[in-house]
């Protein structure tokens, strides 16, 4: 077992650790933004470590260059898609909040005869 093999073993094992951390974060974090944070950071680091571990074992220099190119491509693509998903999630959140406050306004307009419900819904509307 040469020194390069030891390098490969260490790099791929730590890459696997980061992959597991990212996927557990994807499974257990509470909302979209936390999951995005776990996925885009930890998984790309894991992929980078596995790529660096795979480089000494590559058959030719052309293969090694192609692996590095794939890694750069994944970095750019994940940055773009992370931004797009977060943008969409923010828009969905604000749209949901607007719908809900409209619904609460309708309710309080209908039930003008009951002041207790009116005040409670009014405070919730201010909360948005």
């Amino acid at each position: 077992m040469s020194l390069l093999d030891v390098f490969t073993v260490i790099m791929t094992a730590s890459g696997l650790f980061f992959f597991f951390a990212g996927s557990i974060g994807l499974l257990r974090f509470p909302d979209v933004f936390c999951r995005l944070h776990a996925l885009t950071k930890a998984d790309n680091l894991g992929l980078g470590l596995i790529v660096f571990g795979a480089l000494p074992q590559a058959a030719s220099i052309f293969d090694a260059l192609q692996i590095i190119f794939i890694w750069l491509l994944i970095m750019v693509a994940s940055a773009v898609s992370c931004y797009l998903v977060a943008n969409q999630a923010v828009e969905d959140l604000s749209k949901d909040a607007a719908d809900q406050s409209n619904k609460l306004n309708d309710l309080s307009m209908r039930r003008t005869t009951k002041p207790t419900i009116n005040s409670s819904t009014g405070s919730t509307t201010n909360g948005f």
């Binding site: 077992m1 093999d5 490969t8 073993v9 791929t12 094992a13 890459g15 696997l16 992959f19 597991f20 990212g22 996927s23 557990i24 994807l26 499974l27 979209v32 999951r35 995005l36 996925l39 885009t40 998984d43 790309n44 894991g46 992929l47 596995i50 790529v51 795979a54 074992q57 590559a58 058959a59 030719s60 052309f62 293969d63 192609q66 692996i67 190119f69 794939i70 491509l73 994944i74 693509a77 994940s78 773009v80 898609s81 797009l84 998903v85 943008n87 969409q88 999630a89 969905d92």
Partner: protein, 85 residues
């Protein structure tokens, strides 16, 4: 060395199974698309390791195509949600 790399590939397939759990649970469609992004990164690393294990450089080209096509699905998903055709 080949046995060790095969074990790493098996563990990465377990990571893919965890991503499938998020697709089952995910409350919104954005969560499910995030799981597809996990599939692209884990799938690319599985393909690179398989190319080394089986000594076939063609699998690296497969990984390249996967890395090119995975963000296109997500971009299409976002564009379709913004402006329905």
């Amino acid at each position: 060395m080949i046995e060790y790399l095969s074990a790493i590939v098996g563990m990465l397939i377990l990571v893919l199974l965890v991503g499938l759990g998020r697709i089952l649970l995910g409350p919104s469609t954005a969560d499910r698309m995030l799981a597809s992004q996990l599939f692209s990164t884990a799938g690319v690393s599985i393909l690179i390791l398989l190319a080394i294990i089986q000594n076939q450089s063609a699998l690296i080209n497969v990984a390249l195509v996967l890395a090119l096509l995975a963000p296109l699905t997500l971009i299409t998903f976002i564009r379709l949600r913004k402006k329905p055709l």
